[in-house]
């Protein structure tokens, strides 16, 4: 008999499937997570992959739990390698990791159970993933019927033969998993409940896309760039069902100029890109500023500079988003912490852009867009929808001076007035002006709204102990990991603040930061870009910066170990 692997006291099981690009790891991920949820358990899944179409080594993590899970873990409980190559996972395998696969891998203290995917798949390399799915679902005590139903659905349009072969491979994997439970080699005790069954499994990409639809997005122009392409693809697929124009632009410069043209004509335009593409949009962002044209810009960050790492994660483009565009340009930057926030903030980005006539940036990253969470569905998706376009009359002035600095926005073809929009400095009529008084007034007009935007800026969510001497700050995709680490490290010593809006910052934050004896800022970049922003804005420098630039998100283990140190008094 094999050495026993007892996971009965685990709160969650971290399962990793690894293999080469093209082996269908992603397919297995979506298949099993859907079934696990239907069974009544929560999943969090996220892939890490190489920028190649075939070969290499990719993996996906599926964390399964009876309670919601929302974070990346380094540790692996069960590893299912579809190819006998663990080079990229080395550091994550421990002596408690159960490897199921080729016995040649059981060296250097690694142990596992021999299993031939090739045999289970009847020698068909395309079915390893199906066999692995069967194996995993059996270990989780999930009824085979759920798997066979799913496979039949998935392959409904395929030949009988393909369906049969998949079912056979699935059953072979499933039988092996069942045998491991029966003979006591593996013990897993996750109690299913009805709650997860009525939840969605949704990725950051899908959440941004759905949020865009809820925000009334009717136009998307983009140029493909990982990891921003997913949102562009998602929305393009909706163009048959929703009033939505999707066009692949010739470059990112065209993409944002198009989006501005769309807004000018009354549509709600968006672009989705990554840092490199956004760098090309700088001039158009500035154009949005001077013309007071709304825009929604999704930037899914990846490590830079330049091409960097196409499929990895980082939070290194905050400075770019903050400072892009020549001249003074008002803007708002959201940084959702999970798919739920991604949906709400993207929807809000459209009404905010429309109301304030500014570009609104949604700053995500590879980790956020690729990770899939089990969350409740959005019941009232259009609740925040509002349009601010006005019908123009004779003598309409696009840039009429107003108290707030925001002039009613007309569009051509709606009303009798003319809508004149200009990238030069201009007067209230939108005509070129070189008058210095006009210049001063116009700059003030355009920038005044920042005060109002700051005063109404979303406050960070607050967790842990609001009286604690140590204040930990993070932003964007780090939320789930920080929260789990907080729970594991003992929350009473830390006041944790998560920022889903990183610019402008609400002035009400000042006392929260000032009162900290120790201010710690955790972010995925090299310099601490958000820590710098806090210092510039509030004059409070971070005492400690937790930074990481290896292309991976923070892991629960890493933040837990750091947070645990803050138990000591400052």
């Amino acid at each position: 008999m094999n050495r026993p692997y007892d996971f009965s006291r685990n709160e969650d099981i971290s399962i990793i499937i690894s293999g080469a690009a093209g082996q269908g790891i992603k397919t297995a991920e979506s298949l099993i997570t859907a079934i696990i949820k239907r069974h009544g358990l929560y999943c969090f899944s996220c892939r890490e992959y190489m920028s190649r179409v075939r070969g290499g080594l990719n993996s996906t993590q599926v964390r399964v739990s009876a309670d919601p899970v929302a974070a990346w873990r380094d540790g692996i409980d069960i590893l299912i390698p579809l190819t006998p190559d663990l080079s990229r996972l080395d550091h994550r395998i421990s002596d408690t990791t159960l490897i199921i696969g080729d016995p040649s891998l059981f060296t250097e203290g690694r142990t596992g159970i021999a299993f031939s995917f090739d045999e289970a798949a009847g020698g068909d390399g395309r079915l390893y993933n199906t066999a692995a799915s069967g194996l995993i679902l059996a270990l989780l005590h999930i009824d085979f019927s759920l798997l066979s139903e799913s496979l039949n659905e998935r392959f409904a349009n395929k030949s009988e033969k393909i369906r049969e072969r998949n079912l056979t491979a699935a059953r072979a994997g499933y039988e092996q998993g069942g045998a491991l439970l029966r003979d006591g080699t593996v013990t897993i005790a996750l109690e299913p409940s009805p709650a997860p069954r009525s939840r969605m499994i949704v990725s950051g990409t899908e959440a941004v896309g759905l949020g865009a639809l809820a925000g009334g997005c009717s136009f998307i122009s983009s140029y493909p760039m990982s990891p921003g392409t997913g949102v562009f693809e998602f929305l393009s697929r909706q163009a048959d069902a929703f009033p939505l124009v999707s066009e692949q632009a010739e470059d990112e410069i065209a993409a944002l100029n198009m989006a501005l043209g769309a807004w000018y004509a009354g549509a709600r335009g968006m672009v989705s890109t990554s840092g490199g593409g956004f760098a090309l949009m700088g001039e158009a962002l500035s154009l949005a500023g001077v013309t007071e044209t709304p825009a929604v810009i999704h930037i899914a960050q990846r490590p830079g500079p330049a091409t960097g790492m196409a499929t990895r994660t980082e939070q290194g483009d905050l400075n770019l988003a903050l400072h892009a565009g020549h001249g003074d340009v008002a803007r708002v930057i959201f940084a959702p912490g999970n798919p739920d926030q991604a949906f709400r903030l993207t929807a809000r980005a459209f009404s905010l852009a429309d109301e304030y006539q500014i570009p609104v940036i949604i700053l995500t990253d590879q980790y956020l867009v690729d990770a899939r969470h089990t969350i409740p569905p959005w019941e009232d998706p259009l609740a925040g929808y509002a349009s601010h376009i006005v019908e123009t009359g004779d003598g309409y002035q696009r840039y009429r001076y107003t108290e707030s600095g925001i002039s009613p926005r007309g569009i051509p073809g709606f009303g009798r007035g003319l809508v004149r929009v200009d990238s030069h400095e201009h007067d209230e009529n939108g005509r070129i002006s070189e008058d210095w008084r006009t210049r001063e007034k116009m700059v003030q007009k355009r920038m005044k709204r920042l005060e109002q935007l700051a005063a109404s800026a979303i406050m960070p969510s607050s967790h842990g102990n609001p009286e604690a001497a140590t204040v930990v700050v993070s932003w964007g995709s780090t939320l789930g990991t920080a929260l789990e680490a907080l729970g594991k490290s003992g929350a009473e010593q830390i006041h944790y603040l998560h920022f889903s809006q990183v610019y402008p910052l609400n002035p009400a934050l000042r006392p929260l930061l000032q009162r900290a004896d120790r201010l710690v800022v955790a972010e995925n970049n090299h310099t601490g870009q958000f820590a710098d922003l806090l210092a510039v804005t509030f004059g409070r420098r971070a005492d400690e910066r937790l930074l990481q630039v290896n292309g991976f998100p923070f892991s629960v283990e890493y933040l837990t170990s750091r947070f645990t140190r803050y138990r000591r008094p400052v």
Partner: protein, 285 residues
């Protein structure tokens, strides 16, 4: 005075004798031919340069955007509201230089817009550097030994990309310019009108008399003959003026868009479909 001329006093910032003045007159005449009812639907999208300032000197809707980017904006405006009459206008540097990539791809899309390019073979506003259409050998302050590159041939490029209306005129020939512009604005599909004109301040080679000597008006040319148009576009000694090529009945970009298949309502009049969105969200459960 027509509805398309500004009522408030305007200060036209072109040099005296600039070819842009007669082009402006020709454009006003084209606009008048659309009728004043069309005025709220007429939109000029321009870039930056002397030519691109045109809509400031007219009474029209306009989006005067960035140098080189007018076509991208214009394409989107037309996609968002196909009932607008969209005119993209700018100089040779604006449209063929900085905006060259957009030029290529806007033509490929067959966006239903009128594209007016003031081709003075020089950068006027920035005071006399070479443009993509400057002749080889032209001496400027930046090219003291003469322009090395071969000139860009906008008409040949447009034809090669399947443009459905390709024309060239000369600012000095106002009747021709007017009639070509009117044809262009009524053409359903992308229409290029390359308007040759002198830059009295900076282009000392391609002067008004040079253009008169080096151009001729097309007569008896079959505008449906693409190969014939191609031969005209490749002529170098003397440049032909008139409509090189036109093809009617080719579907335009918005004809292909799902959102306009059964409903031509512009996007600004549409609201997100709540039931469909809820169903889409539920599909993730």
């Amino acid at each position: 005075m027509s509805a398309y001329e500004p009522v408030d006093g305007i200060d036209i910032s072109w040099c005296p004798g600039c070819g842009n003045f007669p082009i402006r007159k020709s454009i006003i005449s084209m606009l008048v031919s659309l009728g004043s009812d069309a005025q709220p639907r007429v939109v000029f999208i321009t870039g930056i340069g002397q030519a691109a300032k045109m809509p400031h000197f007219l009474h029209v809707n306009f989006f005067n955007g960035l140098h080189g980017r007018a076509l991208a904006v214009a394409a989107a405006v037309k996609m968002a509201n196909p009932s607008l009459v969209v005119i993209a206008e700018g100089g040779d540097g604006d449209m063929y230089g900085e905006g060259g990539n957009h030029y290529i791809h806007t033509i490929r899309r067959n966006i239903d817009i009128t594209h007016i390019v003031h081709n003075n073979m020089i950068y006027g506003l920035t005071k006399g550097q070479a443009s993509p259409t400057s002749q080889s050998g032209m001496i400027t302050r930046v090219q003291p030994h003469g322009v090395i590159s071969r000139p860009f041939n906008p008409l040949a490029v447009a034809l090669s990309l399947g443009a459905t209306f390709v024309a060239r005129t000369f600012s000095g020939d106002m009747p021709l310019t007017e009639s070509v512009l009117k044809e262009a604005v009524n053409h359903r599909g992308y229409a290029l009108v390359d308007v040759l004109h002198p830059c009295v301040s900076f282009n000392k080679i391609n002067t008004s008399s040079w253009f008169k000597e080096h151009t001729y008006s097309l007569t008896g040319h079959d505008t449906s003959d693409r190969n014939g148009a191609w031969r005209l576009a490749m002529e170098e000694e003397r440049l032909a003026l008139g409509i090189y090529y036109r093809e009617e009945g080719v579907p335009v970009f918005s004809d292909h868009l799902a959102c306009y298949q059964s409903d031509r309502t512009p996007l600004f009049e549409r609201r997100p479909d709540e039931e469909k969105l809820k169903a889409l969200i539920r599909s993730f459960v």
